[in-house]
């Protein structure tokens, strides 16, 4: 889409190691072929295609075209985030302080991790309404095993995560094999897993973490050395640059469109500004929180899985056309079950971070507006409710928006009542944007 097109590429070369295919030979002029067409006579590129020019002007033109055809991507959420920060920052200067932003970066991890799993389910065009209590259940399992029963912390952690995966498999089996609609299965799960969580917690109802266990340390560890945050930023940028350059070089060598140098430079500069600003802010306070680092690593790894592996390709295919995916030979049931399993596992991860945040697993774990917030985070971040469109990065952006609203309202001393209404309005706005974008995409022939 935004690829630079260097010119017509010669077509019709045979691929590597395979038997000759029909398309390898030239057209032989069949009975009904009054128009002999040599491959080089047909440009692979439609002259009517709007190709982006290089440079800033090209960017602006491309940007205008994208907005008008409904390909908004993460634009609305970035705008929303800026507005929220400007508003709260002007209301109270402590909102944009290094301390508040650092805390925010830690507080969003729990919800963000759950939202990351929700992104997968949304990509299928389905929904998981059980994530909040699954997160509570897995946190309770860890706390009870580790604190009450003295089980080794690593074993307890493993059991908690495996339980999350198993819960997802159960949801997936009912959905994919029995054919119960996902929202009903997970709604039943929402209630059932809440009950199991209460059962696990037992009579006392609250289990306090020791504070020295692995889960607590994963959340509370903050790397104070300046080098940690800056180093992470440098590594991230370096990986991005290397990946971009290698990709461009391979594409150039193969004669397919590649990203021009200016493009790579612009993207790198933007990324570097964001990364170093974040690192600088974190270093102004305590340093780089381990929880944030883990969250970012999860996002990058799962992004890779979705965009660069056959598994991810199958997930998107299912979100686009289930029957088409099935006819392409994709094992639909297996993909569905595994996606629900990923979602519940990520809910478990999020639940552990949330437990570490309050240093306990209790009867209120997974309650309140956690479910709404996790799903809202994924949707606000730009993952479509209609399936087949989305990125893992939407979990970060959406969690940031929701976290910022909460944090800003807390600073202003506003009540939960107002917070709920505002978060609800933002969610509605996100869904409206999603629906409108879909409609515009249809009109512009992109959905």
């Amino acid at each position: 889409m935004s690829d630079h097109i260097p010119g017509n590429t010669p077509g019709g070369e045979p691929g590597r190691d395979r038997v000759p295919l029909p398309e390898d030979s030239m057209p032989t002029g069949g009975v009904n072929a009054p128009v002999p067409v040599a491959p080089e006579a047909t440009p692979a590129v439609d002259p009517r295609l709007i190709v982006r020019q290089e440079g800033i002007k090209g960017y602006l033109a491309e940007f205008r075209r994208r907005v008008s055809s409904g390909e908004l991507g993460s634009l609305p959420v970035v705008v929303a985030l800026i507005v929220i920060w400007v508003v709260f920052g002007s209301l109270n200067s402590s909102f944009l302080s290094a301390q508040n932003l650092s805390n925010l970066s830690q507080q969003i991890v729990g919800t963000g991790m759950i939202a990351l799993g929700v992104v997968f389910v949304l990509l299928l065009g389905e929904i998981d309404l059980s994530v909040a209590y699954v997160s509570g259940l897995c946190a309770a399992l860890f706390a009870v095993l580790n604190v009450n029963n003295g089980v080794n912390q690593w074993v307890a952690l493993l059991v908690a995560l495996a339980s999350g995966a198993a819960v997802g498999v159960i949801h997936g089996l009912f959905f994919a094999k029995v054919g119960v609609p996902a929202f009903v299965v997970t709604l039943a799960g929402n209630l059932g897993w809440n009950g199991l969580m209460l059962q696990v917690l037992g009579a006392t109802g609250t289990v306090n973490l020791s504070g020295k266990d692995i889960v607590s340390r994963l959340y509370t560890t903050i790397y104070g050395q300046q080098i940690a945050a800056y180093g992470a930023a440098v590594i991230g940028i370096a990986l991005f640059v290397i990946a971009s350059l290698v990709d461009a070089a391979r594409r150039k060598a193969a004669g397919v469109p590649y990203r021009p140098m200016t493009d790579i430079v612009v993207r790198t500069v933007v990324l570097a500004i964001i990364a170093f600003l974040a690192a600088y802010t974190l270093n102004q306070y305590k340093g780089l929180p381990l929880a944030l680092l883990i969250f970012l690593i999860f996002i990058v790894v799962l992004d890779f899985v979705l965009r660069r592996t056959t598994y991810g390709r199958k997930v998107f295919a299912l979100g686009g056309n289930i029957e088409g995916a099935r006819r392409a030979g994709i094992d639909v049931a297996w993909i569905r079950i595994s996606v629900f399993s990923i979602c519940s596992t990520m809910a478990a991860v999020g639940g552990l971070f949330l437990a570490a945040q309050i240093q306990s697993a209790s009867q209120t774990s997974g309650g309140g507006n956690l479910l709404m917030n996790s799903i809202a985070a994924a949707v606000i971040g730009g993952t479509s409710l209609f399936g087949g469109r989305g990125k893992t990065w939407s979990a970060l952006l959406g969690a940031l928006v929701i976290g910022s609203i909460q944090s800003g309202m807390n600073i202003e001393g506003l009540s939960n009542a107002i917070q709920f209404m505002i978060t609800g309005a933002v969610l509605l706005a996100a869904v409206v944007v999603d629906s409108l974008a879909r409609r515009t995409q249809r009109a512009a022939g992109r959905a």
């Binding site: 889409m1 690829d3 097109i5 590429t9 077509g11 019709g12 070369e13 045979p14 691929g15 000759p20 295919l21 029909p22 398309e23 390898d24 030979s25 057209p27 032989t28 069949g30 009975v31 009904n32 072929a33 128009v35 067409v37 491959p39 047909t42 440009p43 692979a44 590129v45 439609d46 009517r48 295609l49 990709d247 391979r250 594409r251 193969a254 397919v256 660069r308 592996t309 056959t310 390709r313 998107f316 295919a317 979100g319 686009g320 056309n321 088409g324 099935r326 006819r327 392409a328 030979g329 994709i330 094992d331 399936g387 087949g388 469109r389 995409q441 512009a444 022939g445 992109r446 959905a447």
Partner: protein, 259 residues
């Protein structure tokens, strides 16, 4: 001209609730043969193709592959045998780009990772030979025209190395030039000893490329004609059922016998 029998259907029936879509269908496809499957709307052509492709399971009857009976439970099974299908509804994923659709289910990988460069290069070559202009192989297929989508679906059938290619109304949405290219393609497939099942409502196309014309009527066989000894009128009357009588059947038999 035609080689060994690659695909054969023996007494295949398929029911959908109260609709008996197919009854006792017999069909043979040889290597290097183009079989045109014709019939009125609702005659059961697409259902037959889907039964062979593993989308629907036949209720009765046997599908033979290279002389041996096979069971095709899932689309994967048909693909593994070497049957490629272009469906009437195309079955493309609108949210994926052209390259992703072409290689869906058999992506090229390098070190376990999708090799987008190799796939893109191959896609361009493939689409060029079908002489279709596509704005970019990296846009979602949703933004392509009906004919462009159809060419993508046809190209997709050629990605593997199929032994039998089934094309369900492949030229319905195509322009003059693209239709010619598809017909050329069908002939190239025949030259390379592939079996082809071609469904079309366009009699001129059918007469141009088919070796054998199999007529379906109301879910039943209504004659198999050798292209060399038949004409358009005879096929049309078989399709409409106007001359469905002992005389025409005798004539068809007699022509087959005199080969």
């Amino acid at each position: 001209m035609a080689g060994e029998t690659v695909l054969a259907l023996r007494g295949v029936s398929k029911r959908f609730g109260a609709v008996q879509a197919l009854t006792d269908i017999e069909l043979e496809v040889h290597a290097g043969e183009v079989v045109a499957l014709v019939g009125d709307n609702g005659a059961g052509k697409s259902t037959l193709v889907k039964a062979i492709a593993g989308v629907h399971q036949p209720d009765e009857g046997v599908i033979e592959w290279q002389g041996r009976p096979v069971t095709i439970h899932r689309p994967q099974d048909a693909q593994q045998l070497g049957i490629a299908t272009v469906y009437q509804d195309l079955a493309l994923c609108d949210n994926l780009d052209v390259v992703a659709n072409l290689f869906l289910g058999r992506e090229i990988r390098r070190l376990g990772i999708l090799d987008e460069v190799a796939m893109e290069k191959r896609s361009r070559g493939l689409l060029d030979t079908l002489s279709i202009r596509i704005p970019s192989v990296r846009i979602p297929v949703a933004s392509l025209s009906g004919g462009q989508r159809q060419v993508v679906a046809i190209a997709r059938a050629l990605i593997g190395s199929p032994k039998v290619v089934m094309l369900d109304e492949p030229t319905a949405a195509l322009g003059v030039e693209q239709t010619a290219q598809v017909l050329d393609l069908v002939e190239r497939l025949r030259e390379q000893d592939h079996g082809v099942i071609l469904i079309s409502h366009n009699m001129a196309d059918v007469m141009a490329v088919a070796d054998t014309v199999a007529v379906l009527r109301l879910g039943r066989n209504n004659g198999v004609f050798d292209k060399r000894y038949t004409n358009q009128e005879e096929i049309i009357s078989a399709i409409t059922g106007a001359t469905d009588n002992a005389v025409t059947r005798r004539r068809a038999r007699g022509q087959e016998g005199s080969q």
